[in-house]
Symmetry: none
Subunit: 221 residues, 2 copies
Amino acid sequence: MKTVLVVEDDKNINEMLGEVLHHNNYNVKSAYSGTEALLVMNKDIDLVLLDLMLPGKNGEEIINELKKIKNIPVIVMSAITDIEKKLDLFKLGAEDYVTKPFNNEELLARIKVHLKKENTLDSDVIKINEIELNTKTYTIAVNGNNINLSKTEFEILKLLIQNSNKVVTKSIIFDTVWDNFYSADDNTLNVHISKIRNKLKKAGAKDYIETIWSIGYKFKN
Amino acid sequence: MKTVLVVEDDKNINEMLGEVLHHNNYNVKSAYSGTEALLVMNKDIDLVLLDLMLPGKNGEEIINELKKIKNIPVIVMSAITDIEKKLDLFKLGAEDYVTKPFNNEELLARIKVHLKKENTLDSDVIKINEIELNTKTYTIAVNGNNINLSKTEFEILKLLIQNSNKVVTKSIIFDTVWDNFYSADDNTLNVHISKIRNKLKKAGAKDYIETIWSIGYKFKN
DNA sequence: AAAAAGTGTTAAAAAACTCTTAACACAAAT
DNA sequence: ATTTGTGTTAAGAGTTTTTTAACACTTTTT
């Protein structure tokens, strides 16, 4: 479950947002000023909702310092429509900007978008086109139909998918999937890759796994 | 360099966007309908700017099918302000939504946000003019287009580029690229250099590799 | 200017690597 | 105790890369 920090000086709005987020399965932390936000900010927080009209420090400073502590998505909420101000915020690293008054559902949708990006590496479910991989349940579905991969096969595919579009060297695969002590043979990896390709193909997935000759493999998306 | 696909039926707007993007160092591809977008869509495209009022298929279908082809960020541009429609688009996987008329700078800022995530992890990049070499992913791009080098070719070029403007002796190349035990023939190196030069030339790069007679080679920048 | 030494390019042979299938040993499940 | 599934190895076919060899060309030396 992801944690959102709501930074908003208006108590009513802050609480309202907190409830909305809570009902949509987020952990919520609240701060009522920029300085408080900086104090509360820690590694557990995954995204910041930042109101601009804060007492004390101005929004620009806050973004700057928040980003220094942890580089996570910041969505700015403000009544300001001045385009120059907006652009400044983007330059400072804001990921999104919603103009007050905004629709809660839209805000939720935008939160989702910006959390999704972070997701790819450590979320439970990784979805790439027709393939959906659940790292918690060790299941893989192609077009919604579950297929069976052995544990080793699963680990290899997971590693490749987590590093989509990048070459994963054979040595990295060995180090990640096998115990460091006993490392398998090159040929062993070939066989596993072959089996993975077969199962994916049989289930109707495209051919994503590319061989990078003498280096490793790449999940091409 | 990233490639943006602009899908917009109004020729003027399409061209205008194309120019704006071009001036901001993006490669641009244009499509004037949803069906055309699906045809043009390929692996080189990194982000889609999608106008909603398209002839033929409606925007929802297009997003759906684009995402099936390749899961890249889609930013919807539309005059529609109906919140339900907006939400539908987010549900279909749109990453962002800008209401027409919009500010070009803001659009650029949003494009940057959504492209950023692809970049973050690929950090080991050496860039020299039009050549970009990524030592992590074992890829080389000339003017943004990937080219294929074999492992040996890659190692040689990497070594030369890492020592730009310095002479790299043949014996250093042999020691670095080949196992120390069995060292290849001079002629072998010639052939590899020749192949590297060819591939770079074909991709449109200048002739950087200089022969230092009887000593070795130099990547001149 | 001629000879010698070194380089560039191409095609073909050789080597290295990969893919697939099958077999076997072993572990887990029935 | 039997069945089912997994991981590894081996072997042959297939693919890609690397090297060799030949010849034309360039630079250096004599």
